[in-house]
């Protein structure tokens, strides 16, 4: 026990003296949180679109004015299709509407014939769908205000309610997700780097020659990072709630408990990577590819897991961040839902056990 304590102290000093580790723990979390709060946004607004006015009829002008007055659109009016087509290719415009020369005749004819054409740049399908929907909405609104007759008074009136996030701010779901990315960095990336450096420099072998056991060595390496992760969680939660305006419906201690459990597979993954690679460049590369990118792309906070093909869904089961994101979003937005927390924590511990198991097998074989 005293030996373990001494080792932990040695490792802690090493971290505290290392400017790079300090940078990752204290500079990276706010940077990542702010980026996810501001840079990653699925809320399409102020889209630049063109309106091609081929008709001089009053109705056509009035529709063009209606497009220009739509809050989400920034309209560039032109006379000729050609002008906007090339801007769609260069990306200056995301869509354009064509009001044809025979617009008034088409309007009178009715019976579902297309009165205008909306062409959207689908090279980004998400923006394209939203932009087209805004423009269709502007057209429908204009028709309604002109005819004054709600022709389509719909038979079924939908009453949507978005629970846990009534204003539908994507920031509220993304910031808890960003905490998972930050913690993956601290847990997996830092550990992978530190331990692989020991292997690369040969100091790991030197440590093995001491009376300390393998278990003590590993524990002493992981414990400081475990504490560092706890500090980072508390810091992230403070930023999220106080600065970024994310509500905290659940309890702080539930958040800390979930985060502590998440660190088990995260640290295990870092340790596994370093044991398998024993080279800093390879370890970083692996940590980015198997830790950072999956925590961003496969954990379900940007991209919906259920919409992925089934074999990718199977892969997400071994990504610890998947369970962590689910619990984080819940503790921030929905409250303490213990059945969900327990399920997620059990899954994280199971994944952690697999990582530590592989590490143990591999390190035994190499250290005979």
């Amino acid at each position: 026990m005293r030996r373990l304590w001494a080792l932990v102290r040695k490792e802690s000093y090493q971290i505290l003296r290392d400017p790079a580790a300090m940078l990752i723990t204290f500079a990276l979390p706010p940077v990542l949180l702010f980026l996810f709060a501001f840079a990653v946004s699925l809320d399409v607004k102020n889209v630049h679109v063109g309106v091609v006015l081929e008709s001089d009829a009053p109705a056509a002008r009035s529709l063009a004015a209606a497009f220009a007055a739509t809050p989400y659109l920034r309209v560039t009016p032109v006379r000729n299709r050609r002008e906007v087509e090339s801007k769609l290719v260069s990306g200056e415009l995301k869509a354009f509407a064509v009001i044809p020369a025979d617009f008034e005749a088409r309007l009178l004819e009715g019976q579902g014939r297309a009165a205008i054409q909306i062409i959207a740049d689908a090279s980004n399908p998400n923006t394209s769908t939203f932009t087209a929907a805004y423009m269709q909405g502007a057209f429908a609104g204009w028709l309604l205000s002109r005819d004054g007759d709600p022709a389509e008074a719909s038979a079924i009136e939908l009453k949507p309610r978005f629970w846990f996030n009534p204003e539908l701010q994507s920031r509220r779901t993304l910031v808890p997700g960003a905490i998972a990315v930050v913690m993956t960095m601290i847990g997996t990336m830092l550990t992978a780097l530190v331990v692989s450096r020991e292997w690369e420099r040969g100091t790991m072998e030197a440590m093995l020659a001491t009376p300390a056991t393998m278990g003590e060595l590993i524990l002493s390496k992981l414990l400081p990072y475990f504490l560092l992760g706890g500090v980072a969680t508390a810091g992230c939660a403070f930023l999220a709630v106080q600065v970024l305006g994310v509500p905290m419906v659940g309890s702080f201690w539930a958040l800390m408990l979930i985060s502590a459990v998440f660190l088990v597979p995260a640290l295990g993954q870092g340790l596994m990577i370093s044991t398998l690679s024993k080279n800093q460049l390879v370890a970083t590369q692996l940590a980015v590819m198997s830790g950072y990118l999956p925590s961003f792309l496969l954990s379900g906070f940007v991209f919906e897991i259920q919409s992925m093909p089934w074999f990718i869904q199977k892969i997400t089961y071994i990504i610890p961040a998947r369970y962590y994101v689910s619990s984080l979003q819940t503790v921030f937005l929905a409250g303490d839902v213990w059945p969900l927390f327990l399920r997620d924590m059990a899954s994280m511990l199971a994944v952690g056990a697999v990582f530590f198991g592989i590490t143990r097998l591999k390190s035994k074989r190499r250290l005979d």
Partner: protein
């Protein structure tokens, strides 16, 4: 002079190609990643779980339910007896959304009164929930239109015809996989350069470079070329996977795309060299690279549209080489982007490269003195 340069370039190559794990890591892993993320990163909504709470015994709620259940965005349908049961399941994330039909739903539809249908959505999954809600809206509107058509006086209002150019089926992979080609190429180039100078310093071989007749410029060039090739090869490899593996159409010019890839990788390598020349150890430079890499990816429009960001962040985003190259890659794949448009995204890359290389040379020079 040229011999000396060639020799040091050869040495840099050997450092990377000698280690088989490193080789696999550099070229095998990116391809694997593209396969996984290309399929995973989609904002389409499919196979989500839907709950139904039906207090109505009539015909119209059943009609609405059967249409919703048949829609491709719905996976499993769970029928529940009470809203309490539904609430508990929504809290535990077992369903994404629920439809609640009040008792007089069918009576209202039959009487021509607007019938209310409550749609409750998990706001924790804001994007998927929003998309799923738009699907439900479309189903309800279609049903409403069919009901209205049965009225002989009904006139269908004028429509707007929507066309999605460049990607008519709105396939998300056509957007994501070309983006991954650029991103993977950047990650690899950054990693290789990031470790190059700091590695020598950590191993002490930088001192040997100091006593060699190599000039700072030569050191920089010899460190640049392997990284450029590494990033370039990965870029070309992933473009190949996109075209032949994913079947994504390529309408543009390979010459323009690969021509633009050179200044892109060059600018990325420049940034990597600055970090590497500042760091004392490999570990520091790796973390530094990472600290630069993740914001660069996030403000580039890789996962979510550049234009959605606030204006001040869009100004900062101009510094990201990836932002400019993503426009070129997407344009080359789907839009057959002309040379003039490619050029207007290449010159910012050249400026970034010029600034970063000058900075790196100055730093290396200072180390030499």
């Amino acid at each position: 002079m040229l011999d000396r340069l060639l020799a040091s370039i050869r040495k840099e190559f050997l450092v990377f190609l000698r280690d088989p794990r490193l080789r696999g890591m550099l070229f095998g892993v990116p391809v694997m990643q593209v396969l996984v993320f290309g399929f995973a990163a989609t904002l389409e909504v499919r196979h989500v779980d839907l709950a139904i709470v039906n207090d109505d015994a009539g015909l119209w709620s059943r009609e609405m339910i059967s249409r919703a259940s048949a829609a491709s965005f719905v996976g499993r349908v769970v029928y529940l007896d009470s809203m309490d049961d539904f609430t508990a399941r929504l809290e535990r994330r077992e369903v994404l959304l629920g439809l609640h039909f009040p008792a007089d739903f069918s009576r209202d539809v039959a009487a021509g009164r607007p019938a209310q249908l409550q749609v409750v959505i998990d706001g924790r999954r804001a994007n998927a929930g929003q998309v799923a809600f738009s699907y439900v809206t479309a189903i309800a509107a279609q049903l409403g239109l069919e009901l209205a058509r049965s009225d002989p006086q009904f006139v269908t209002p004028p429509q707007a015809e929507v066309r999605h150019w460049f990607n008519p089926n709105l396939d998300y992979r056509w957007f994501m996989v070309p983006n991954l080609a650029a991103t993977m190429s950047m990650i690899i180039a950054l990693m290789i350069t990031g470790s190059s100078i700091s590695r020598e310093r950590e191993l002490g071989t930088f001192d040997q470079l100091l006593v060699s007749p190599s000039t700072p410029l030569e050191i920089i060039v010899s460190k640049t070329i392997p990284a450029m090739l590494g990033g370039g090869i990965v870029g070309v490899l992933v473009v190949g996977v996109a075209i032949f593996g994913f079947g994504i159409p390529f309408y543009g010019s390979f010459l323009l795309l690969f021509g633009a890839m050179c200044p892109f990788v060059l600018s990325v390598v420049g940034v990597g060299l600055v970090v590497s020349s500042l760091a004392n150890t490999q570990q520091q430079s790796m973390l530094g690279i990472f600290l630069i890499m993740s914001p660069t990816i996030m403000i580039s429009g890789f996962a979510t549209p550049f234009e959605n960001m606030p204006q001040w962040l869009q100004y900062i985003g101009q510094v990201s080489p990836l932002k400019h190259f993503l426009i070129i890659v997407q344009g080359s794949f789907l839009k057959s982007m002309p040379a003039a448009d490619v050029w207007s995204n290449v010159w910012p890359l050249l400026i970034i490269a010029a600034v970063s290389f000058t900075t790196a040379t100055v730093f290396v020079q200072r180390r030499l003195q």
